[in-house]
Symmetry: D2
Subunit: 184 residues, 4 copies
């Protein structure tokens, strides 16, 4: 699949302390996915695709994104390895979300209009919660969706598979491995 213009890459909850009971299970799948995301993101940026961090504020309402990054990549953070693979660069965009969907109570809608994006490439965690909810909301807003299967992860493979099936069958997402995304 060739990436034309009017795309945006959404990195969902990749800056994440993963400080919750099930994080070990998620990390097992998230770390290899993070490596794939890092590679994909490099290729997409070279092709001019804007990168948007769509990141939970994890209830830290008084922290801005830089503080979240510091916190999540600190030695105590179980999610530090994933975070360090995917640190934002100066020209990346970000949106802090208070809930699961990247569209709920955030500026994502306005930012995507500003960027004139029409197709969203979704990557990040967890495939069956925040990625799925963001995909549902994007679909209702008429965005086309691309989901690279090796760039999303959940606590268990079954959850990821069900979410990918839903996005493919219900949301008309194009679902494929990241290596099939060709950037011009």
């Amino acid at each position: 699949m060739k990436i034309p213009s009017r795309h945006a890459l959404l990195l969902i909850d990749v800056i994440n302390d993963m400080a919750f009971p099930e994080s070990e299970a998620l990390l097992k799948h998230a770390l290899p996915a993070a490596k794939k995301i890092a590679a994909l993101r490099k290729r997409l940026k070279k092709a001019g695709v804007p990168v948007i961090y769509v990141n939970d504020n994890f209830g830290h309402w008084q922290c801005d994104f830089q503080s979240q990054i510091k916190r999540c990549s600190s030695p105590e953070s179980p999610g530090r390895e994933v975070a360090k693979l995917l640190l934002p660069e100066d020209d990346d965009y970000f949106v802090l979300k208070p809930m699961h969907s990247g569209f709920y109570s955030t500026s994502l809608d306005v930012l995507l209009r500003f960027l004139q994006a029409e197709t969203l490439i979704l990557a990040g965690f967890a495939a069956d919660i925040c990625v799925l909810y963001t995909a549902n909301d994007a679909y209702m807003r008429d965005f086309a969706l691309v989901v690279p299967t090796d760039c999303v992860a959940s606590e268990d493979a079954k959850g990821t598979r069900q979410a990918l099936d839903h996005m493919k069958n219900r949301l008309k997402a194009r679902v494929m491995e990241s290596r099939y995304l060709h950037c011009g």
Copy 2:
């Protein structure tokens, strides 16, 4: 008027480079207002009222709030004096808004629900644009409004007066000088 619990103080666009043609006119009114806001805010915080910066991102989508603060209080920023009087403290909240109203495409709704706020005290700039739009949207969402007349400012006094009239008559806002707000 006595401030009970369930209030929140909204500081609207006080961190502002004021780098636009009419900024001189606005600054003339904004600087004295900023001093009043600083005093009010100190009293309200002592009484336990949460402070929320509801601040424009000024189209700087790649900057977080700390970067906006740095930019707006730098020597080149016409708005630096106002910004320096009203720098956020570690326990203050913030919301970056992309447009005029603090409720449009932001997390303000969710944050206010989290804080269990029912009455909003509005301060900041400009009284007849961003303060007014935020007031309109707050009213539609059933918030009670308090607007201290000496803590808002516009480019001209007429604009401020008309906005205050509208908020009082149409939005049932209680409108009075800040010294009449008593904190317990």
Copy 3:
């Protein structure tokens, strides 16, 4: 001003029982405006511009639009003459709004996207409340605005004038008498 494609005519709260204390004052200005709206609407429909009723539900959550129309054009309704001049036709669109702005908690956004409208022509009542709030919200969503001065009305002429000034100066609305809108 020539009306090209991608316009929509919004009729704001024209189906209205006007059963409130100040309705006599509003009606004095609303009735002549309704006649102008009826003429404008006829011209615009002939030119292919879609007409959208953006109408309050007036707290009658259990009534649909047809019931509102019956209620507002009944002999007991002070607003019956205005309503009867502006009854919807089968091919007109409608949105029931629970609050002042036509965009707050309604499907207007999605309908306008469906109609591919980019410019909104605003008509109806009251110029300084529901028309103004809808204009503010439209502006934040990047719609261009046209406001025919003789097709809006408030309780008093001053309120209308201030609202028109605000829409012209702050929202970049084109403000002119309806006879200057030329439909191809």
Copy 4:
């Protein structure tokens, strides 16, 4: 489970022409569910729980709810039997939704605030699309959820089961047969 106050029953897409290729499969499960919904709704209304039709407009933007009902219960409508079992009564509420989620671009939020509802009982179709999306959005808005398993249906039993699992595990919904809902 006993139904206290502050509940609302949401009937999702029950007035439905089901004029789509897969409707036969859905109808097979929807008809028995509609009978269960009719019985539950009777019990809940007697207990004072408000009933809200959260119904698609199916792209018929020019039709109001009464017209949708007429259309969907006409002899040509595959969904007529379901619709006739669940016709709204005069004191029922309704919201027309343009997309899958009952919260997206509708007044549902404001209506639920008006009704002071805190817990939503979800019934209708399809369990794995519109019911699920509405559940997701309700959860993000802090509503508690109850889903009677025999009052929802999808095209296939697997879809329903996965959706119920998601709502139970991810959205903390209480999931049980409708006969276990006791109304005081």
